[in-house]
Amino acid sequence: MRKVRWYHQVLAQVVLVLVSVVTLYPVLWVVKMALKTGQGFAMTVNPLPTEFSLENFAYVIGRTDKDGTWLFGYQLFNSVVISVATTLIGVFLACTGAYAFSRFRFPGRQAGLMSFLVTQMFPGVLMMIPLFVILQKLGAITGGVVGLNSIWGLVMVYSTTAIPFCVWMLKGYFDTIPKELEESALIDGATQLQIFTRIILPLARPAIAVTALFSFMTGWNEFILAATFMNSETAYTLPVTLRSYVGSYSTEWGHFAAGAIIVSVPVMALFFALQKYLVGGLTAGAVKG
């Protein structure tokens, strides 16, 4: 190894500190505005909080509609249920699908893989009208359980639109698990289902963690479809309300920032908890293909 001189260390530290400052600057702003009283965008250069008021948090959490319904409570509940359900269903669909495409050779396999890929190139926002009508019809068939203005309608849309990405990622990972493991299990008398649940799934934990993270983020962050398919404030998810604080003419920056922190903290915590899996989960398939 070449000798590392002291100025290498200093130079690297200076660069990284600068980049980190730029990276954290907007984030610190959110914290500052959330802790500040009032709704304006603070007009200073200093991103560090100067006031420590919980007024904005109290407003955002305590928001009710005119009948006294606790909107934040409803929306938090919706967001949590939708995200968790999306994660569970999304991971289930992606794991079984990816397993089929990774391990079996069957007529229609190539076509199926290609179709997953190809649909991702079609701009998602324009699928809104057909999706709206599909949910309407499903609502009529299922008596409103899966339909417009229903949590399960959104869950189905979220978990299926995330499938292609998740299947491709998981398939890449499954491909790297040696086939010999399954063959020897088969000889030992394991059933197909046992191989899948006892061997493949535990080994693919990093990729599954990443799939779960992305499914969760889809459900937790999405606001365009949620605002379109749900028609009352008690049915909205948190991002829909958060988005509404930023209007085209006036913006409640304080409320927005407080809400942004409340919404971001869980998803960031999850992200950092699972970040050690990110590299392996994302790149395994791509590198070893």
């Binding site: 260390q9 990284l16 600057y25 701009p123 998602g124 009208i129 189905m156 971001s264």
Partner: protein, 681 residues
């Protein structure tokens, strides 16, 4: 599939099965259609009843003088007493005091819970506010459609809970709008039984007949053709039979049940026992000696298919006759048709033809080989099925309809002739015109921000600059962070992926605020540095820079993580060997790092490019296309065409073009299958 299996007409049992399966499917589908028709018929009956009630009420309301506001209450009370499902009714009309006309002065609501105590509407109250909103809507519609399409002046909607109908319409005196009147009534979805036994009987006899044909008709071709004809005939019998049964039940329901609801207003009441209350109610509605022609005249149902009029018993009020002092000036109204919802004809015919194809395939033995294929790969299909079913419903179907939309354009305005209704929206077939318009720059000049090529140029600039910066910054940081001697490495790695972890719409909105011209932090930093303020949204380059800054900030951590992962997988002894050979740092980077980074970086770049190409949130939330749509990229432009200009077809054509651009790009990169983690949005 590589090659088609040979034709192998199966044995008798196989042939019967080949017939029985399509026949069974046909029966199931027929019942399904019958169910659909039934629910539509039920809805139509409810709607028709609501329209009748409203028409009567509105005609009657027009006769109320300014001095008798309690008349509306009386009318609704009478209706309620007759077992009507009205939950509440309201009337908003003008009142003349001296020379001044006070709009909305006379506003009454009559609730079923306080029927005789009419109350003044209060525009601040939830339920009353809804009435005011509906009233405004009716006024707008009257202005627009009174001359051309009087049927469109009615407002009719199901309430959110789905158990009630809100209906409202204009009150017209001498051709002039004097007010609006509305009702809210409970739905009474009638229970029309499904013709299950009929379908079963037909199915069984059809299969039995087919078995006989296969057994006794000589010649495999002849018996096959005969069975095919039989299958089509079965479809026809289903259609005829179900249409008759569902309609008949519907009509019987309509004549018996709605009578109770409409007794006060419906002149077509065929049961003599209702004549007395009818006449009394008419007297109340129209006032003694008044003609009730307006009531029945206002009913004029469009497309009523089966006249109950013909079945109405004699002795009903006829034009010119007097019923307890009320002169009937027109004939009895028609109970609106219930059969409009039951048009099984084409549906069942198409189904029949498709199932005939299935039968032919089965008869020739193809289905059996398909079945054995599925059986051979049962595990594979079993595992793939859940994901595929979800994809078909929520991804492939919307995808296909997007393609379909691109050949149509939404029709606005009243000229609905020759339109196709898709997803409840009227469309007109355009062929390839949307594509010619877009690709031929027919509508917007090349320098116009709404021009396709202009936007495409911006999109490519946007994608290239973003991906370039993402890779450059990500790679540089990764190279720094991989050095084993670096202190605080773990801290930086956590800090630097914060932008990836934060929801991107939040960061986009924060950056939007930071770039605010007056209050934004960026301008204040510039001022502090002694530079002037920048009017970020007034110029293309500044707005583009703002978008770019946001997206670079958002996107570099992904590349950094990918690069870090790839760098870690490069064996360290390669560098040691290079060092021994006296290679410089730059040579090591060029000849070891870059080539070994490629396999991981390449897919990430392709993926990143697709993401950036369709990065809706940043453009939409940060610059919003400012100035004058110039910083819009293709996807935000398409969104605007669809949801701001209402041009769904045009927008869908945009989407199809975006799709093909990305497809060609993906194929062009030649390693698509490996890179293809798909765009995740």
């Amino acid at each position: 599939m590589s090659k088609f299996p040979p034709i192998a007409i199966p044995a008798l049992r196989g042939r019967v099965l080949a017939f029985a399966i399509p026949a069974l499917l046909l029966a199931v589908l027929a019942l399904g259609y019958a169910g659909l028709a039934r629910s539509r018929a039920a809805f139509e009956q409810d709607d028709a009843r609501a329209q009748r009630l409203l028409a009567g009420l509105s005609a009657a309301a027009a006769t109320i003088g300014p001095d008798q506001p309690e008349r509306l209450q009386t009318m609704v009370a009478e209706l309620a007493a007759a077992g009507s499902p009205i939950r509440w009714a309201w009337l908003i009309t003008e009142k003349q005091v001296g020379a001044f006309v006070f709009q909305k002065a006379r506003t009454y609501a009559v609730h079923s819970d306080s029927l005789l105590a009419g109350t003044q509407l209060d525009s601040e109250q939830g339920r009353d506010k809804a009435a005011y909103d509906i009233s405004k809507e009716v006024e707008l519609r009257f202005e627009k459609y009174a001359a051309s399409r009087p049927d469109l002046t009615l407002y009719l909607a199901r309430t959110d809970d789905g158990h009630a109908i809100d209906i409202a319409g204009p009150v017209v005196q001498d051709g002039k709008l004097v007010g609006t009147v509305g009702l809210s009534l409970t739905d009474q979805h009638p229970a029309i039984p499904l013709p299950v036994s009929f379908v079963l009987l037909v199915l069984l006899s059809s299969v039995a007949l087919a078995a006989l044909i296969f057994r006794f008709v000589p010649g495999r071709v002849a018996s096959g053709v005969l069975a095919g004809v039989l299958l089509l005939a079965t479809a026809l019998i289903f259609q005829q039979g179900i249409e008759r049964r569902v309609v008949w039940e519907g009509e019987r329901y309509a004549s018996a049940r709605t009578l109770v609801d409409t007794v006060a207003l419906d002149l077509a009441a065929p049961d003599p026992s209702f004549r007395q209350p009818l006449a009394e109610a008419l007297g109340k509605v129209a006032g003694p000696g008044q003609p009730v022609g307006a009531i029945s005249g206002a009913l004029s149902p469009e497309g009523s298919s089966r006249d109950l009029l013909a079945a109405a018993p004699a002795g009903l009020p006829r034009p010119g006759s007097l019923v307890q002092g009320v002169k009937v000036s027109q004939g009895p109204a028609v109970l609106q048709g219930t059969s409009a919802g039951v048009q099984l004809g084409t549906r069942l015919l198409v189904t029949g033809l498709l199932l005939l194809l299935l039968f032919v395939l089965g008869y020739l033995g193809y289905l059996q080989s398909f079945g054995s294929m599925v059986k051979n790969h049962a595990y594979a299909y079993g595992y793939a099925a859940p994901a595929m079913i979800g994809m078909v419903v929520f991804v492939f179907f919307p995808f296909a309809s997007g393609f379909l939309f691109s050949f149509f354009e939404r029709v606005t305005g009243d000229d609905l002739a020759g339109t196709v209704v898709m997803f409840g929206i009227p469309f007109r077939f355009m062929g390839l015109r949307n594509f010619f318009d877009i690709l031929g720059s027919r509508e917007y000049a090349l320098t116009d921000a709404l021009n396709f090529y202009f936007t495409l140029g911006v999109t490519i600039l946007w994608t290239v600059s973003n991906v370039g910066l993402h890779v450059a910054i990500g790679l540089a940081l990764a190279l720094l962070l991989k050095n084993p001697w670096l202190k605080l490495k773990g801290v930086y790695r956590v800090l630097l992926i914060v932008p990836w972890a934060m929801p991107n719409y939040i960061t986009a909105l924060i950056w939007r605020g930071m770039f605010d011209v007056e209050y934004g932090t960026v301008n204040h930093v510039l001022l502090a540095l002694g530079l002037g303020k920048v009017a970020w949204w007034s110029h293309f380059w500044s707005a583009f820079t703002a978008n770019l800054t946001t997206n670079v900030w958002l996107g570099f951590p992904f590349m950094m993580v990918i690069c870090l992962g790839a760098l870690q997988s490069i064996p360290g002894d390669l560098y040691e060997a290079a060092e021994v050979d006296g290679a410089s740092r730059w040579q090591q980077f060029r000849n070891i790092t870059l080539p070994l980074l490629k396999p991981a970086l390449f897919p990430a770049v392709i993926l990143g490019a697709i993401w950036t190409f369709n990065m809706f949130n940043v453009i939409y939330l940060v610059s919003g296309g400012a100035p004058e749509h110039r910083t819009d990229i293709l996807i935000t432009q398409a969104y605007r065409f669809a949801f701001e200009a209402g041009r769904y077809g045009y927008a869908a054509a945009y989407a199809v073009i975006i799709f093909f651009i990305l497809l060609v790009y993906g194929l062009g990169t030649n390693r698509m299958t490996k890179a293809s983690e798909g765009a995740f949005d």
